[in-house]
């Protein structure tokens, strides 16, 4: 039998084949298709009509209003309304109306199962790789064809393995791990490839933190990022998720395209300097740089684990610059309320906004003005991503973001831990 990586096994299963090899092109059966208010009904309704309007399997379709809510203007409001009307007219069973970011909901609601093929009309669909799914992003038109046929064509990607050795120090988060990968290997090392994250530092991560690694795979250029489910995460994903002989791990002797080992002891808190996600330097190299404000939010940096990390630094301290927090989902707010995180954040002077994408895609809720300098936990720092093209958006972990909010300057979180 051919030895396969986890990504290859999932594609083989979805394609109904015994084995696949990198470079093979297959038609694969999709287990779950996801879209949101920006990529969803407004873009695909007309295309679906060309196919007679019938959906392949409404049970396997997820729709979330996350990008344009809360609506900043009439155009946004119309998009939100159109999306809601479309979902209601079809009585779509998995419709999430302005309660959080699609990617986080797929994990939180247990919709993305290990060993399955998830396709979503958004680049950060890769986030569901945190649950051991093969999750790939596509554009709206292609998603429309998936909604009709339940199938997608895939070229089997070679897999690159990133192995993190040693435990994760308490001054680092998974965001630093992802940025270290981008620092060493740059933003295009994984184009058309799969990235698999393994090693002791990964095994110890909760689902929220695994989501960071999977999420940032797209910034590495990858087709998908995947974390083989293990330990407490595997338990949490539940017996139903593990049913039907779905693959949970690759074969020991599987061939990787490349393997990189990163010793956690050699990693320091990092910052990605605009205008690119791989322009990564140690926080110490920028320490003292004055900020206009700090933003904690998005599918990668607005999860419960991120708010808790920020609270570790902010407990008993005050933010000196505006600190804006956009929780990824409503449940993140609930969890933060339950465990006291929310109280700590509010006591530090932070403003907590409605859950969703927030300002991350440059649509509403706190855009950056000309030359405004912000440090954020969001996904990307491309020019104009979160507002004016001349704004400077630095990316960092929630620990570094919180420490920087306390001083109003880019600050090493180790000073406060």
């Amino acid at each position: 039998m051919t030895a396969m990586t986890l990504t290859e096994k999932i594609i083989a299963r979805a394609a109904g084949r015994d084995a696949v090899r990198p470079g093979d092109e297959v038609w694969a059966a999709v287990d779950l298709a996801a879209m949101h208010d920006s990529s969803g009904p407004r873009r695909i309704a007309g295309i679906l009509e060309q196919f007679g309007g019938r959906l392949w399997d409404p049970q396997k379709i997820v729709l979330a209003i996350d990008h344009f809510a809360p609506a900043a203007n009439q155009r946004h409001a119309e998009i939100v309304k159109l999306t809601r009307d479309w979902a209601r007219a079809r009585a779509l069973p998995q419709f999430f109306d302005s309660v959080g970011v699609m990617h986080n909901l797929l994990l939180e609601e247990g919709l993305a199962h290990p060993g399955t093929l998830v396709v979503g009309a958004d680049s950060h669909t890769v986030t569901a790789g945190a649950a051991g799914a093969l999750a790939v992003g596509v554009g709206a038109t292609e998603l429309a064809t998936v909604l009709v046929t339940g199938q997608i064509w895939l070229r089997v990607p070679p897999t690159v393995r990133i192995h993190f050795e040693g435990p994760l120090p308490d001054y680092l988060t998974a965001r630093d791990m992802a940025m270290e990968v981008l620092r060493r290997l740059r933003a295009d090392f994984a184009i058309y490839k799969a990235v698999e994250f393994t090693g002791p530092a990964v095994e110890g991560l909760e689902l929220d933190e695994r989501a960071v690694l999977a999420n940032q795979a797209i910034e590495m250029g990858a087709k998908n990022g995947i974390v083989p489910p293990s330990g407490a995460v595997l338990e949490r994903l539940g017996p139903a998720a593990r049913a039907q002989g779905r693959p949970l791990a690759g074969d020991e002797s599987a061939a990787y395209d490349d393997e990189h080992r990163i010793a956690m002891a050699s990693v320091v808190p990092l910052v990605a300097v605009p205008p690119n996600v791989d322009n990564v330097v140690p926080v110490t190299a920028l320490a003292g740089l004055e900020l206009d404000r700090v933003y904690i939010g998005s599918c990668v940096g607005g999860k419960a684990a991120d708010l808790r990390a920020a609270a570790r630094v902010l407990r008993g301290r005050q933010a000196r610059v505006p600190l804006q927090i956009t929780p990824a989902t409503r449940r993140v707010v609930e969890e933060a309320l339950r465990d006291g995180t929310l109280e700590t954040l509010l006591a530090s002077g932070a403003i907590v906004q409605a859950p969703g994408c927030g300002a991350c895609a440059g649509l509403h809720s706190g855009l950056l003005g000309p030359r405004e300098r912000c440090l954020g936990t969001v996904t990307r720092n491309f020019p104009g991503r979160m507002g004016d093209p001349s704004a400077e958006l630095y990316l960092a972990s929630p620990l570094t973001a919180a420490a920087s909010a306390v001083t109003g300057r880019i600050t090493d979180p180790r000073e406060f831990l």
């Binding site: 203007n73 155009r75 958004d122 596509v138 554009g139 292609e142 491309f382 979160m386």
Partner: protein, 166 residues
Amino acid sequence: MSGVYEGRAWVFGDHVSTDQILPGAYLDRPMEEVGTYAMAGLDPTFRSRVQPGDIVVAGVNFGCGSSREAAVMALKQAGVAAVVARSFGRIFFRNAINNGFPAAIVADTRAIRAGDRLRLDIPSRALVHLRTGETTPLLNLTGTSLEILEAGGIVPFTLRRLGAAR
């Protein structure tokens, strides 16, 4: 002349993101209008100077980032005939093919200057640099992606596929 595109080069660098090709500020516009904002995040004069049939040339990772299909549609509506790069953001590439918009990979684009005339010849699998006379082989556009491109996009391709299955 199907699959052959001859036009003037617009040259951009590495890692041009879809946030630059079609900034988020215009994401709320109807798809038919996005051409007005093509490359607004990179070169605000692009839209007024681009000519129908022009070819966008870039370095590595063109179209990285957001999956917004509007980035492809903006270039297409602005009259751009094709994009040639050393590599593409994977979703941008699929979006291009899915909309019948050629996105060709060649080993190197660094000798191409703004305004140079190029011929992208997909049937012959070559990019011809008309100023230097140099011919470079295409490295992608094979298999399923070529079939989808030749069908004019994923919608006509899928309609045909479903028809054949029936």
